[in-house]
């Protein structure tokens, strides 16, 4: 086994241990507390909060994926080509809006809680997936698309059987970027009372408890690295399987 995978496995094991029985680490986090502050977050179960964090990210990413991939498919069909510039700008706007601003604007409409966070993550995740799906669907080897047409596949058959499978690794790269951005951005959701790991960080900031800030930050960071690596490995596997390793992942 490669050294990188050993480190990843160890990181995963430590992370799980921290989530399941945080008290084991109270000695370590105690080093960062002052004046008998609690070393381990005490206003909720770390495991529950982490699962909730992941669920929000997952839900937002699934929604972004469906919409972004759908849009990219439509604008790469002959009937949707006119909408390409429009949909590009829409996705760009989603990206340039700061997530905090989206939260601030969404709270009056959706109230406090998970909903505004989901909206912010959803909008924020659209662009990378949309752009990558476009790249994947428009940079297919011309001889392959020509052959698919010449064989007598209809438009949808070409999309389902040839174009999407070949674009999949590139689409997946977009999803990976989107997931990592969302994992980090979801922490901000705690400012509007969404139950994410941001809650741990904010509690630490409010009570000047470095141990809390460290716990929340570490969990988010390790999760992001592990998920990023797992999706990268999946992409490489897909590329190798389809003999496309030469094609650059965007």
């Amino acid at each position: 086994m490669k050294i990188g995978n050993v480190i990843r496995l160890v990181a995963l094991a430590v992370l799980l241990l921290l989530l399941v029985s945080p008290d084991l680490f109270s000695g370590f986090f105690g080093l960062f507390t002052k004046n008998n502050q609690p070393a381990i977050y005490n206003q909720g179960n770390l495991l529950d909060i982490t699962l909730n964090h992941l669920t929000i990210v997952l839900a937002a990413t699934v929604a972004s994926t469906v919409i972004a991939v759908g849009l990219a498919i439509i604008v790469t069909r002959p009937f949707g080509a006119e909408f390409l510039p429009l949909s590009r700008s829409l996705a760009n706007i989603g990206q340039t809006f700061p997530p905090v601003a989206v939260l601030a604007l969404a709270v009056p409409m959706l109230g406090f809680g998970t909903a505004p966070t989901l909206v912010a993550l959803f909008l924020y995740g659209l662009l990378p997936i949309f752009e990558n799906t476009l790249t994947g669907l428009t940079n297919l080897p011309p001889s392959v698309t020509d052959a698919a047409k010449g064989m007598g596949m209809t438009g949808w058959q070409r999309l389902i059987k040839v174009e999407l499978p070949l674009a999949l690794p590139v689409i997946l790269a977009g999803i990976r970027l989107s997931v990592v951005i969302s994992l980090a951005t979801a922490t901000i959701g705690s400012t509007v009372a969404a139950r994410t790991l941001g809650e741990v960080i904010i509690a630490g900031l409010l009570s000047s408890n470095t141990a809390f800030v460290l716990q929340g930050g570490l969990i988010v960071g390790v999760l992001a690295v592990l998920i990023y690596d797992a999706l990268s490995a999946l992409e490489r596997w897909l590329m190798a399987r389809t003999g496309q390793l030469g094609r650059a992942a965007a």
């Binding site: 052959a147 010449g150 596949m153 399987r241």
Partner: protein, 311 residues
């Protein structure tokens, strides 16, 4: 039979194919030759509606293809292209099965057909069926590409520079395969190439195109003897003419009585090969062997006469 009737294609004012008339006889190989930009590929792609003509008609066995939905027409016409165009994410077997699957054949019939075709192209089905295209050599990929084009037993096979990416040895082998398969199935083949040598070797008729116009369409011997324009003559190559003419005929058809000395030549070889051997070995005559028996000879004199411009 493919009848191309006064067909024109222009892209925003630029005429790519200019009023071309061409009739391709059934069960023959028609090679369309031209330099790049001559419109030869565009002409071929209009036969399976990958390009829509600006004006004119194409009829296949009397039926105007304008009335047939493009995808249906394409499933009836084999299509093989340069760089093979195999689907990289599907196995060799799945690639070959593409059109039969689109036509809704049942599984057993498709599997049998795939194995039959792979065997026909000297690819052991058990070994190659489940491999991915990128695990094959260039020559093998090209064979799978042609096998895929022939999977649903089409009457017509379109080939766009199918051997462009192959090295000369594999190319010669692929050309022999094509000839024997065409003879076996009686497929009508339309092949596009820029290589006159390939055209003369494969074509029953040769259509020469330049700047969108069809300059000449005739049998190879006729094209070599009487090129219609200076451009056609240039494509053939003036200094190559006698040898191209010799390459059209087989030794078997010009055997004389007598027994030349030395190493014999096979009756199936072309006269060009025989001529080269005569010159190289410095002999006036070569014995001809058929099925291991010496059956006569070919002479340098006779070949020199055959290489002269036909009167």
């Amino acid at each position: 039979m493919i009848e191309i009737d006064d067909i024109t294609k222009s892209y925003s004012g630029t005429v790519v194919v200019d009023h071309v008339n061409l009739t391709i006889e059934p069960r023959s190989i028609c090679v369309v030759v031209g330099t790049s930009g001559s419109g030869k590929t565009t002409l071929m792609r209009m036969i399976n509606k990958l390009v829509e003509p600006t004006s004119g008609h194409i009829r296949i066995d009397g039926e105007d293809i304008a009335g047939i939905p493009a995808y249906e027409l394409r499933r009836r016409i084999g299509y093989a292209i340069q760089g093979h165009g195999l689907f990289p994410h599907r196995t060799v077997g799945q690639n070959v099965a593409t059109v039969p699957k689109l036509l809704g054949w049942d599984k057993k019939k498709i599997a049998d057909r795939v194995d039959e075709l792979l065997s026909l192209f000297q690819l052991d089905p058990a070994e190659f069926r489940d491999r991915l295209p990128h695990e094959l050599s260039g020559g093998q990929q090209q064979r799978v590409g042609v096998a895929r084009a022939l999977a649903a037993s089409p009457n017509i096979l379109l080939m766009d520079e199918p051997y462009g990416a192959l090295d000369p040895v594999i190319r010669a082998k692929a050309q022999e395969d094509l000839l024997s398969i065409q003879r076996k199935f009686g497929t009508t083949v339309v092949l596009v190439t820029h290589d006159m040598e390939e055209a003369i070797h494969l074509g029953d008729t040769i259509a020469v195109m330049d700047k969108g116009k069809l300059l000449q369409c005739a049998k190879p011997a006729e094209i070599i003897a009487n090129p219609a324009t200076p451009f056609v003559a240039e494509l053939i190559g003036t200094s190559e003419r006698p040898f191209r003419l010799l390459s059209l005929a087989k030794v078997a058809d010009h055997i004389e009585a007598g027994e030349g000395a030395g190493e014999p030549i096979e009756a199936g070889a072309s006269l060009r090969d025989a001529y080269a051997e005569l010159l190289w070995s410095g002999r006036p005559a070569l014995p001809v062997r058929r099925d291991g028996q010496v059956v006569g000879q070919v002479t340098l004199d006779a070949l020199s006469r055959l290489a002269a411009r036909p009167q």
